[in-house]
């Protein structure tokens, strides 16, 4: 397959590999590990950490728990708030000339609208609505349980924001209905999906349980199935997020209907993962390109 830009809605990205929200910090340390040229060449878009209207301190420790082939995290959306992010972190990212997608978290619908308006006013072009964070008390995944609320949310944001509007689904709850409602309300694409609600028991002193979201290779087969099912039911593009560690993983998602791929947990293991994954993906798609073309025609 020739290297063609990845098109989602009216937007075109240099590569289909995006950095997933919350897995590259606030961006201030990214350049320690990748050069601007490498970022430009391998990463199609940078999706910000989940940003809220007001700063959030995040959850008390423990926030992390490793499982076989997976990670349970309970960060609790620690972030400086949208405005502080725009002032402090954004300028350094903007100069990279890679599209930035703002991942937004609201406790209530109005907060989403307000943030969307702020971004609209400064001419920002892409939003990913996080209606699926399992680690916060208010908002987050609760939205994903109610397709009608999602409809209202997406419609409300659409009314004030003309750019690329992505909805990041939760993998649990009435996923298909939520997806349909998001599409109906004017979403341009869906990210499938966020982490899976999970629990880990820390079995040394002091004994603790950690409730959080499971990510990594452990969830790939589950999210792959979701992408496949959703691709049969919605028309808008799907962006895969779940356990993409290699070029082969991305290719699997492509075969199941995804248009773009988010790299999350893999970044935590190696900040240079996007380069490696993109390269592997390109080699593999060249090898299997003809097969893929045939099956899609």
């Amino acid at each position: 397959m020739p290297e063609s830009p990845c098109v989602i809605g009216n937007y075109s990205f240099r590569t289909p590999f995006f950095l997933a929200s919350g897995t590259w910090g606030l961006g201030d340390t990214l350049l320690n590990y990748l050069t601007p040229e490498e970022i430009k060449a391998s990463i199609g878009a940078l999706i910000t950490k989940g940003l809220s209207l007001e700063p959030m301190p995040g959850n008390p420790p423990p926030r992390l728990f490793e499982t076989p082939c997976g990670l349970i995290n309970s960060i609790g959306l620690e972030n400086p708030g949208l405005k502080a992010f725009l002032e402090k972190y954004y300028p350094e990212l903007k100069v990279l000339e890679v599209p930035i997608i703002f991942n937004l978290h609201g406790k209530a619908l109005e907060e989403f609208y307000e943030m969307a308006e702020i971004l609209s006013e400064i001419g920002e072009e892409a939003i990913e609505l996080n209606i699926s964070c399992p680690n916060v008390k208010e908002g987050g995944i609760a939205f994903s349980q109610n397709p009608q609320v999602v409809f209202e949310l997406v419609k409300g944001v659409r009314a004030v924001f003309k750019g690329l509007l992505i909805v990041k689904l939760s993998p649990i709850g009435p996923v298909l209905e939520v997806a349909k409602k998001a599409e109906e309300a004017g979403a341009d694409a869906l990210t499938v999906a966020n982490t899976y609600p999970a629990l880990g028991v820390i079995s040394y002193e002091p004994l603790q349980i950690i409730r959080g979201g499971l990510s990594g290779p452990a969830i790939k087969p589950l999210t792959l199935r979701l992408v496949f099912e959703l691709s049969q039911r919605v028309k808008i593009p799907l962006i895969a997020s779940g356990g993409i560690m290699s070029g082969k993983d991305a290719l699997d998602y492509l075969i199941c209907g995804a248009k773009a791929f988010q790299i999350g947990t893999a970044n935590l293991i190696d900040p240079r993962a996007p380069i490696k994954i993109k390269q592997e993906f390109e080699e593999l798609s060249q090898k299997y390109g003809r097969l893929l073309d045939k099956s899609s025609s």
Binding site: R63, E66, N73, P217, R272
Partner: protein, 254 residues
């Protein structure tokens, strides 16, 4: 991530090993107090994350890690032998604080001693002479690398919980004796949490500054995940992999 060859992976006691690798690339920039993360070859994503280790010694481009086997990652590491390859990523974290007063007390519990080797290696001899190293372990066989530490012109004080070497009891008891006599001006400590708690209390009791090298589980070590938090006294959290691992005792709550 640098792919490096293992030069040596030597067992020093029942559970403690000394790993030697030939450093290259960015690893050559490492400073005392910083750490690296080590990924083992092909483990089918289990353990999923590379494990963090302080640099114990770095001379003539040979980088040494002193580690204790506690779980599946360190067990896997202990099974590797000379010539095999691992992936090493770093340096990560902040070096030990630059402005430090002397006489300086270094307090180590178990493999917490690791980072002090590299620290001493980089210290001029006149300052080495103003170091008190307090080194405690459960039993004498776990007081490793004594020959190496004895070569520095420092005052070395030992304790074991079972009394098989040095003073019987906790190393913090030895430390407190010297604090009473005002022998040291500042403290740098690394070891298990209960020991660090006592060091923190002692530093408050005797009114001296103490730096603690702390530990949490780390997923990324690069500031990406925001998971490695320690409560900050001023509110909010420190991210240990970015702002630590060494922090002022008076600024943290644990």
């Amino acid at each position: 991530m640098e792919k490096v060859k293992i030069l040596k992976n030597q067992r020093l006691s029942e559970r403690i090993y000394l790993l030697e690798i030939a450093a290259k690339g960015r690893l050559l920039e490492v400073n005392p107090g910083q750490f690296v993360k080590i990924k083992f070859p092909d483990f089918r994503y289990d353990p999923l994350f590379p494990r963090p280790f302080t640099v114990h010694s770095f001379q003539n481009q040979v980088l040494k890690i002193l580690y204790q086997v506690v779980g599946k990652g360190t067990l896997a590491l202990s099974k590797l032998s000379e010539g095999e390859e691992i992936f090493v990523f770093g340096p990560l974290g902040k070096p030990y604080p630059e402005k430090i007063d002397f006489p300086l007390g270094l307090c180590a519990g178990g493999v917490g001693i690791a980072g002090f080797g590299f620290f001493l290696e980089r210290l001029p001899e006149n300052l080495q002479k103003r170091i008190f190293l307090y080194y405690g372990a459960r039993t004498s066989s776990e007081l490793v690398r004594l020959d190496y530490f004895s070569k520095f012109p420092i005052e070395l004080k030992l304790a074991t919980e079972d009394g098989s070497a040095g003073k019987k009891g906790y190393i913090t008891e030895l430390l407190e004796e010297d604090l009473k006599e005002e022998k040291i001006k500042i403290l740098l400590a690394c070891g298990p949490m209960p020991m660090l708690k006592v060091v923190k209390e002692l530093s408050e009791k005797y009114g001296i500054k103490a730096y603690l090298s702390l530990e949490t589980f780390m997923a990324c070590g690069t500031g990406f995940c925001k998971g490695c938090v320690i409560k900050a006294r001023k509110g909010g959290y420190f991210h240990l992999c970015e702002e630590g691992p060494t922090l002022l005792a008076s600024e943290v709550i644990f």
